[in-house]
Structures are given as C-alpha cells and as structure tokens.
Symmetry: C2
Subunit: 342 residues, 2 copies
DNA sequence: TTGTAAGCGTTATCAG
DNA sequence: CTGATAACGCTTACAA
C-alpha cells in the first residue's frame, strides 16, 4: 500500500496525491477531497524512508549520552526533545555505558542512519577518533553538559565552577574550617570544572586545610573515598549528590553524625536528594533547561542560522536543606594537601 | 559521496562495491582490495535510508514508554536493547508522559518511520485507537511490564499479584494485624494486579481490618494518601517504592516512627530504596531481565518464528531491610473497609 | 490545476 | 566473477 494505490483509488496521478499531502492548497478542492477519502479509506501513511531518501531530510536527531539509565541525562534529553519535537523531529537516543569506543561506534551508526543532528554528552575526557568521524559528514552537532575541549562545536552547559565555588563559600561562611573534596571521574570536563570551583574558594579564603580525593560519580565511590579520608573534616563536598550520599553513609558507619559532626554537600539536586535523610544541601542545576537550550541551539544549526553564541553557560542555585550546620570549629591544625586516587 | 564515487575511484561498477559490502566472498580478492581501499580513502559509509528503501528492512525498533525520565522504564529498555543490538538493531525510544493520545500519535509516527518492531509499556488502562492503528501495519509488537488486556499481543511482565501477596503474607506472619494499601493509578494493569495480591493475602488470612486508598505511583501520592488514612494501621503497603517512601515521610511528620510504630513496604526495589533511611523492605522486580526477555520475544517475532509462549511472567523476590518490625499487635478493632480516591 | 518523468542511493536480477 | 539496469516510494521540475 503506497502512494500509487491511493492515486489509483482516487483516480488521479501520484503527484496529485503527493501535493494533497505536502501542499494541499495547490490542489483543487474536488480532487483534494477525493484523495483524502482514498487516504482515509486505505489508512495510508507516507513512507518516511522514501521521503527522506528523496528530500535528504530525515527529520531525525540523535542523542549520545553516557548512561541511558541515569535520570539526569534523560531529563536533559527530554528538554531537548520537548523543544525539537515541535519542529517535527524524531529521536534516537543511544547510551555508551561510559565507553569511548562505543561512543565512536554509535556516532558512525547515527551518521549512516542519516540523522540530521546529534546532541552529545561526552563519555570521557578525550575521544581521539571523534573529530575524524564527524569530519565533513554534514551533521550538525552540539555538546550538552560535557564537551571535548579540543573540538570546536557549540556547547550548552552549566557553570560547574561557579556552582561549587558558591556552595563552598557558603560552607566557609557558616564556620567550616577544614574540607574534603570527593571528585568524580577526573578526566571529564565537569569534574575538572567543579574541582576548580572548590580550589578557587579555598584560595580565596586562604584555607589550606583541605583534601582532594579522586574517584567516580557514584554512591559507592563517595562511600569508599570517605573511608580513606586521612582525617574527618568539618565539611565534605561531593562531586555530585550520589557521592555526597555515599559519604554520609560512610560517615554514619564511622560514628559521625551529619550535620552535627560533619557537614556534607552535593551537586545536581537529583530527584531523590530532597527525600534523603537528612535532606541533602546541594547545588541545583537547571538540567531540563540545559537540554531545552541544547535543542534550541541545534535547531538554529539545523535551520542554517549562524550561531552567535558558541557557548551557553547556565547558572546554578544553592539549595539549602539539612546536611549543613552552622559551626565555629577550631582549626584542627591539618594543613597537608593529600591526593588519593581510587 | 555515495556508492558511485567509490566505484569510480576503484574503477569498478557500483554492483561490485555493493557486493564487497554485502557479500565480500563473491568478489575476487583483487577487486575486493581495491574497493576496500577506495571506501577507506573516502570514508564511505552506506546510506541506510537508501538501503532500507530498497530492502524493506530498517533494522530499527521503537520503544514506547510512559515516562522517558523514569529509570525503571529505562532499565527495561536497556535490557531489550542489550539483546537486540547484537542482532544489529537501532533504537528509537519515545515517552508519552502517561498520555494516551500521545501514545497513539507516537505509534503512528513510528509506523511511518518504518520501524520493524515496537515494544510498548502501556500508558493507561485502555487505549481505544491502539488496535485500529496497528491493524495490518505489519509491525511486530510486544507488551512489556504493562499491557492492554483487550489486545492480543505477546506480553512479558512480572507476577505483580504474587509479589504483593508474598510481601503481605510476610507482614501477616511477622505479627501485623491491620493494614493499609496505597494503590497507584487504578486503571493500569500493574496496579490492578498488585491490589489483587494484597486482597488475596487479606482473604487467605481472614484479615478484615484493612483500608485501600487509590492515588498515583508517586512519592507525593503516598504522602497525601497516608495523611488521609482513617486510622494508622500496623503496616502500610505501598503500590511502589515511591509511594512507600512518601508514606514514611507522612508518618514521620505525624509523629509515628517506622518501623517501631508502623511497618511500611514497597514494590520495585528501585535504585534508591536501599539507601533510604530506614532502608526500605520491598519486592524486587527483575526489571532488566524483563526488558531482555521482551527483546528476545520481539526478535523471535521479527525472525518469523512462532511464539509458543504468548505470555512470559517473571517472578519477584522479597528484599527484607529495615522498615518492617516483628510485632504482636492487638487487633485495634477496626474492621470497616474504606475507599478513598485521590 | 494536473500529469509525466527524473532521480535520491541502494540492492537484486539477469546477462555476459 | 562482473556489469548494466530495474526497482524501492516518494518529491519536484517541467510540460501541458
């Protein structure tokens, strides 16, 4: 059942059927009606594949994200979809499982599927074959949340540095004097930016009593890193909420009470953080909005407009809940800087 | 840059290039090498669109799920993808936002995108236009987790009834005498099946002191329904983990301690439940496995095999954590059955 | 306003 | 083993 059957049933040529579908106003009312009846009767739907082949426009955009199971990434995706679906686009979303090779492979697959645009949240700190693959492929691309710094593509992200700096400043202001920063994957752009924010705050306030530990962006990593702490500081800053929650768990096991003995903060304000006990003080990222913006930027690219702003940075908010307690801790005299890599 | 450019560069016909790609063994070693060099040199990748148009096989399967942001649905999707990607399939996943009309619309869109198969997790209890749309479309379909009972399609799900029955039995055995069941969307197949499990347990043990309240599958719903409870029972059974967690929050606010005053159980064993305070006792569903099975069933359909088992039901486990306390409560003499609809 | 026909990039059939 | 050519279903000049 194709355009030919419709034409036959309606007693017109296939071009007329095509016109009824694509520019009805250019067809006489009589034929238009006849064709519509035929379409209805047969339950005809145009074959998008053929259409794409002919027009060169697939109306499909692809997403590449590190983990298809992580709600934060999917909220971004939803933001972008909500913008782009009004423009008539369909979506293919692929997860790399944080694997660079998979990322390259998916990129190739999407390209041969002729997607018109791709929104990428990077899986690693570098991907050496990335540039080569997209080179003169004609796809429009945007980085979302994370980017490869050596690749010049529009980027929509969040001010990670300012976010962590802000919440660390808040800790200093509320009387904390010693700190530990629990980082996520140290090669990712977001981990680097966040750590930078922490360091800026330390410098700015002349704090020397801090530790930096590297692990992953997971609950388990937060838990393990905390157990490796050389001493328990006044405040623990998690690379994200999961890490912070893991830290709280470890702290509890070690007999420390949060926030009475130690304050803990995170980054993300993920769905569950407000329900955790005690509710987590953290940095809220405009995740959905970030995706929405990325969708918008891609749309501009897609419609041939010039992008004036190659980089769009969204700001964050501190959300104060129950894991930070105002204190006036004595300096415990720990000034050594430590790095532990998990 | 297409198959023609490759042919030209290699000095062969386009059929030879096509053969090198699709059945290399049928081409002489010499030409094969020449063509491969040319492909390499140009960075050529076959146009899937054209290929699909010609062969009629797109190698794409679609997913329709109620909420693209819910990790549980995405874990199912991942299960199915993990199975199907080894067979060379790509994926389009669409979320309906629990909206039936959107569901129908997406179905149509997927069909005109010529996906070969669709895995559906239903958004409602009924969708009147569903059957009409897929009628003689030729797509292979499978229901996953939830189904429309009036539509005869293969179904892969979980034994909701047995799961809730099991955990309610457990509550009875541990000395609980009065109960409240907090249901999710009452028209969905899973909500119905779960409630049935609760009722079976009540009947079986001759318990008459129970309340059933209807709301949604959300934290907020659990919270609100709990506040509407006519009396506080020994145990609250949540329609899922979110509902249970909401119930705990409300209970705490109302001055009851879980599990000392009231026991609470959920259903799902979602990611966060093990970290909640106190850690939630719940029913573990084999979510990933369910998706994997659905992928397998769809694959059988796709490869033209006969499906012997139209219905595949996976079993659940109870996971006992900290929200249930063994007790020997006196019957508080509440025998009235109440229904509250949110 | 309508129809004819070319062509999008492949694969498949058929000769050679 | 290789090449010419038709066809997949559609859109779009161009002609009528």
């Amino acid at each position: 059942m194709n355009i030919r059957s419709v034409a036959q049933l309606a007693g017109v040529s296939i071009s007329t059927v095509s016109r009824v579908i694509n520019s009805p106003e250019s067809v006489s009312e009589e034929l238009r009606e006849r064709v519509r009846k035929a379409i209805e009767q047969l339950g005809y739907r145009p074959n998008q594949i053929a259409r794409s082949l002919r027009t060169g426009s697939t109306k499909v955009v692809g997403f590449i994200i590190p983990d298809i199971t992580n709600p934060a990434f999917l909220l971004m995706v939803k933001g972008a979809e909500d913008y782009l679906k009004r423009k008539g686009y369909m979506f293919i979303v692929c997860g790399t499982d944080h694997n660079i090779e998979e990322e390259t492979k998916l990129l190739k697959t999407l390209l041969s599927q002729s997607v018109e645009g791709i929104i990428v949240t990077c899986s690693g700190g570098r991907n050496s074959s990335f540039a080569k693959v997209i080179q003169n492929s004609g796809v429009k691309m945007v980085f979302m949340d994370r980017r490869y710094e050596d690749i010049d593509l529009p980027y929509v992200g969040v001010d990670n540095t300012a976010g962590v700096e802000k919440i660390t400043d808040f800790l200093v202001k509320t009387g904390h004097r010693s700190f530990a920063y629990l980082s996520g994957e140290r090669n990712t752009s977001s981990a680097k930016e966040r750590l930078r924010g922490f360091m800026k705050s330390m410098k700015k306030h002349g704090v020397e009593d801090y530790q930096v530990l590297y692990g992953r962006f997971t609950f388990e990593s937060g838990y393990e890193l905390t157990k490796k702490l050389k001493k328990i500081p006044d405040a623990v800053v998690g690379g994200n909420d999961l890490v912070a929650l893991g830290a709280i768990e470890a702290l509890n096991e070690m007999g420390y009470h949060v926030p009475d003995d130690v304050s803990v903060v995170g980054f993300d304000d993920m769905f569950y953080s407000k329900y955790s006990k005690p509710a987590l003080t953290t940095v809220r990222q405009p995740i959905y909005e970030m995706g929405y913006m990325a969708g918008k930027v891609l749309w501009q690219l897609l419609s041939g407009k010039n992008i004036k702003k190659r980089v769009t940075i969204l700001q964050t908010d501190i959300v104060v809940r129950e894991t930070v307690k105002e204190r006036n801790a004595p300096n415990r005299g720990f000034t050594e800087k430590v790095e532990v890599v998990l």
